[in-house]
Symmetry: C2
Subunit: 334 residues, 2 copies
């Protein structure tokens, strides 16, 4: 039996294992510094599909098929599939689940979705209800821009603190047994909103939620920042990372030596994405690619992965609401 | 430790208990046959708010506050909050979670959401990770029509097989211990899609998923239809109920003596809703009101509650996709 630890955290009795992972990205991500850590790079933003929505659906599905192939498992070996995305009614995940045929539980946590899925997947396995589950998430620059902002054809200028939605899908296999890194603790976030209303500045809207969850995690588990080799947020990017570090500093936690962000890892400064990457797919592909590989190689042995979600919609913005945000964390350890 | 049973079902080792429930509905639902089973009926569709979206958010929040009040618990006593709704980016649930301050996991399962929340909540409790959780869901006629169909001011004529989105929010408290009805088994659905494309005929799009999950549940658990006092779907309404019963009949399962649907229970035929009710709030308020009360009174002792979700979006429809659907089931027993 697992246990609740403190107010918001969970400790797994038999830590579930991340045995395999797969990441598929778009051309821009394939030109970035993590290019070699991804399994597949699309030749263009459509990859032969008629619409970007269908491309996103295809790569989410393929990322799951790839993770199963790597683990030598079929869809019938997977007990449950946890997924979500940024599109209205999470259609990417729903249609991928239709094609995969795996019993499915749909999630919505904006860019925190992959961590929410790993967290719930871990609970289901540690609770005795499953042997293998897959958690996956995706985003696509074209679908996200169209839905949240402006048609890309319009060429609207983006402020320098805006983030660039990653085109990518990441899938991770979590199992009862195996040799991969283990999910030892999880911290479920609360919704935090300090009143930020600028929808082009997501990083600073999400930073307070990250600090809230991080401090809660450390308090609940009795750990210190230095316990971890790396504290990885996804995705605060340049502006949000700075805000989060300053807020943490004010509360007595110095993150500077340990903190990095998936939105900063995925692009080079010369790629002109402004503040960095974002989107459900960003943290999903960085975790499924780079971070998994660096944990398997032993470069990192203790990671705290904090998925961050901005829980707004265009409607809530039009009605004058500020941007609520959430952050969920999982400890991944060798 | 719980166990997986068959392909898609779970058996709880220490069945979690539904100790309290609360339901708030709109005026139309308050004029229906279940009026007396609800805790609060709104005087009009706005209830003093500026927009329907804010009204929906308010009643979801209040339904949770009410369930806590009934159980004599504070928000600090609730380990986790599971919620979702129909609006883009599930803003109703997100903003309710912001106000409530309970660690939150956002779900999207369209009208199956409340059952998805009870199912995951049950897993979290049985797995040892929580003592009390709340699962809640909501919908609002005004917000759903505006987002999915036409502005209501336009007065577009609805076909007779269309369903009417319920204005309502339901919340249920699930605990490790207590005297209420227990969640004994759960069956996680697969996404099923037989190619239906008519967005005004949701019931028939969802019926195949219901039959798939129901039969899987019976096979996994070794139970028969007659084991249950009531098999309640939410929400197939008139057309979908008939389709589901016919499909089940063809596969050798006669549901007629046991099957009812939340979309049919909630309105009187004279209320001119056409095929009946729908929306995340429909099954949520019927479960939190009528069904809870009839289980507490002992009229029903064994219910199979099947939440049904149509997993489309306006974008997927515009791009020519058919309507994927899912159904999750939980056994609730005294």
């Amino acid at each position: 039996m697992g246990v609740k630890v403190g107010r918001q955290s969970l400790q797994f009795a038999s830590p579930p294992v991340i045995n395999s992972a797969a990441a598929i990205v778009g051309p821009k991500e394939g030109n970035g510094p993590l290019a070699k850590t991804f399994d597949k790079v699309l030749p263009d933003s459509y990859d032969g599909e008629e619409t970007w929505e269908k491309t996103e659906r295809k790569i989410l599905t393929e990322s799951v098929q790839l993770v199963l192939q790597k683990a030598n498992l079929g869809a019938a070996n997977i007990d449950f599939f946890f997924a979500g995305d940024l599109l209205n009614q999470t259609i990417t995940a729903n249609f991928a689940a239709r094609q995969l045929g795996i019993p499915f539980l749909g999630l919505y946590g904006a860019c925190s979705t992959i961590v929410e899925g790993l967290l719930i997947g871990g609970i289901v396995i540690d609770g005795g209800f499953a042997t293998n589950v897959v958690s996956a998430a995706s985003s696509h620059y074209g679908t996200a821009e169209r839905q949240y902002r402006f048609p890309t054809e319009q060429g609207v200028q983006r402020p320098l603190y805006a983030q660039w939605t990653v085109t990518g899908a990441g899938a991770l296999l979590v199992s009862k047994e195996g040799t991969g890194p283990k999910i030892t603790f999880a911290t479920v976030g609360k919704v935090v909103d300090l009143g930020q209303k600028d929808v082009t500045n997501m990083g600073s809207a999400m930073a307070p939620a990250v600090v809230d969850t991080l401090i809660q995690h450390l308090q609940d588990t009795g750990r210190v920042v230095d316990y971890y080799d790396l504290i990885v947020t996804g995705d605060l990017a340049q502006v949000g990372k700075k805000v989060a570090q300053e807020m943490a500093q004010q509360k007595g936690y110095d993150l500077r030596a340990k903190h990095t962000d998936c939105g900063l890892l995925i692009y080079d400064a010369v790629q002109d994405t402004h503040a960095g990457g974002s989107g459900c797919g960003c943290v999903a592909v960085v975790m499924a690619g780079y971070l998994m590989q660096e944990m398997q190689s032993g470069k990192y042995n203790r990671i705290l992965l904090i998925g961050t979600g901005a829980l707004l919609s265009p409607t809530s913005v039009q009605q004058g609401d500020s941007i609520p945000a959430i952050a969920h964390a999982i400890s991944i350890e060798n």
